[in-house]
Amino acid sequence: MSEITTVNGIKKLPEDQISDLYGKLMTSLKEKEDPEYSRIRNIAYKKFAETGFPDFKHEEYRYTHIAQRIPQKLHFRAAQYHGNGRDKILNPIPVFENSIIIEFINGILITSLQALEENGEVGIKTIEKASKDNPDLIYGILRQEIELSKDPFVPLNTAFSREGLFIHIKENRQPGKDIYLIHHTFPDSSSIFTSNRHIILAGRNSSSRIAEIFFSGDQAPCFDIPFTSIHMEEGASLSYHKVQLLGKQAIHLNNTQVHQKKDSRFISFTITLSGNMIRNNLNIRLNESNCESTLYGLFYLSDSDHADNHTVVDHRMPHCLSNEYYKGILDGNSKGVFNGKIFVQPNAQKTNAYQSNKNILVSENASINTKPQLEIWADDVRCTHGTTTGKLDREQLFYLRSRGLSEKTAKSLLIHAFANDLVDKMEMTGVKSLVENKIRERLEQY
């Protein structure tokens, strides 16, 4: 059980709040929702309730104390900022050309999917619609993920899931357009709770690129617990980019579960640029042989931002390759956490697994906890891991300054170079330029 938080003298467990909210949700969905979906919600809710929110004694949440940060008085909210207000809010967000853009405001889908539902290359529909068309597939996935999950926010997400998408890249197709899911959360006076549940199915030998971008405002707390599961068929290839540009009161607990079949190739970029408390769980299951998985991550934190990346790469079959590279830049009073687990199961001979985490502490008050964890049960494998944490290199700073660069310029040049090493690898130009611009803006503040 989690710690008690006190607001206005009223003591309330965060679990009690969630329980009230769940009761309200189920009442509102009564007779509106397919009973099978409601049953799945109940299974999920029960699984969450068994553990509740992880406290500081929870091994996986030792450095990320969620329970105290759950905002009081959580609300589901309707989409706002339509019309003129919306334009004003969305104005600073770049235009992604030649792309399919699907937007959510406060967790609510605002883009019409009519033209996207059945197109020859990719089908995009709501989970609700997809579960009517293909209940076995969708409900099967929802149930399976709850069962497999070890993180409490997976079942919590499904219990509260709303407005999720089912994205199906068709067999042998390579959509010419990149797909962007853009989540905006704009809390005003009260806290907003969002829980989107997306499913991506990458068909046999398909090749596609999908980005999820999360923006939120600073005015009030938001509590986002999105969950995306990615199912890759034989020979499928997917480039998946995630960017988080969140408000100073945003609690964002993100789960991504990837299943890979034979000969599939997955590459992900997890870029965290701001937020109060962010947790990214990225789990990869290499279920068949000859898969390739690349995990790139960059977190650039300031103020009291807290970002925690937990990754699991589970090598279950032979001849797979995984390569993980995460970099952290920590300024202000920020805290970072990196935990990378690699499992090599007894069957997974001839595995190649690489992991590296490099961090720079820009300020004296910033900190990072980093922990690589390898569990190897096969004997014919090649695994390496390494982690480094340090300040900006004094010799490099002096070299640049001795050529006339101000200390600020020298510092920002070195941070830029450190970040760019990863940003350069990004495969979706729209996301890449968004990230480049945000980093540049930050560096100009030095």
Binding site: L400, R401, S402, L405, E407, A410, L414
Partner: protein, 254 residues
């Protein structure tokens, strides 16, 4: 131009420079020689403003200004340049971008207009010829994966681009083959003028075959123990340093 008066400096509590006196005028080339550990590189580092070195006594006047009170970048903007003994590799920072930023920050300080990219590239190409630098090195990350010789040439190239008035070459000749040595020497010679001064810190006499110094000083145990004209370098080549070690008599130079 530069006046060093009774300079005493230490690093990690150990006194390395024990009272250096030296005066350098515009138009002069000085060579500072001496055995390993005599304080040559420390002197270069102190002049460039490396933080690890603590000056406990003495002063350095640069054009009448207090050099030691300036930050490393201020020194550079005032026209001082240090060619590093061990140039640092900086992955992810392109030589061109870095040099343009440096040059423009120097120009801004000196009240000159920033150089636009076209004139900057013209300027770069012109200076590349001076040290026979391969164009491909410019687009690469600063010094990353450069050979020893390429790094040293890149130092002289940067010096040519930034056009300092006072340059210190810290063991630029070490690790260079004879061809690279000639190229570096040509680069230095092309910078020689009535307005500029150059200090060459070196262990060996060989670079001085190509750059003729006006004065040669021998540094030993943190002091200048002998000063002379270029013949002194030849004498050192012939006799080594031992005859000076035996009787280190401080000599105030020129």
């Amino acid at each position: 131009m530069l006046k060093i008066i009774n300079l005493i400096a230490s690093v990690e509590g150990k006194t390395i420079l024990k009272g250096i006196n030296l005066e350098i005028h515009a138009g002069e080339v000085h060579a500072i020689m001496g055995p390993n550990g005599s304080g040559k590189s420390t002197l270069a580092s102190v002049l460039a403003g490396r933080e690890e070195y603590e000056v406990t006594e003495g002063k350095v006047e640069y054009d009448g200004k207090n050099l030691l009170a300036m930050s490393p970048e201020e020194r550079a903007r005032e026209g001082l340049f240090l060619a590093f003994q061990y140039p640092v590799e900086i992955p992810g920072v392109s030589t061109t971008n870095f040099l343009r930023t440096a040059l423009n920050q120097i120009r801004e300080y000196q009240g000159k207009e920033a150089m636009d990219s076209v004139s900057f590239l013209t300027h770069l190409r012109e200076k590349m010829k001076v040290v026979d630098l391969n164009q491909s090195l410019l687009s690469r990350s600063l010094n990353e994966g450069f050979s020893g010789g390429e790094k040293k040439r890149n130092e002289i190239f940067q010096m040519a681009v930034l056009e300092p008035r006072f340059a210190i070459l810290d063991e630029t000749d070490s690790g260079l083959d004879i061809d690279a040595l000639k190229i570096v020497a040509n680069g230095v010679n092309s910078l020689r003028s009535k307005e500029n001064a150059i200090v060459i810190v070196t262990h060996y006499q060989r670079l001085l075959n190509y750059i003729t110094p006006d004065f040669v000083h021998v540094l030993y145990e943190g002091r200048i123990v002998k000063s002379g004209k270029k013949d002194l370098a030849l004498e050192l080549e012939e006799r080594g340093y031992d005859w000076l070690k035996a009787d280190p008599k401080p000599v105030v130079n020129t």
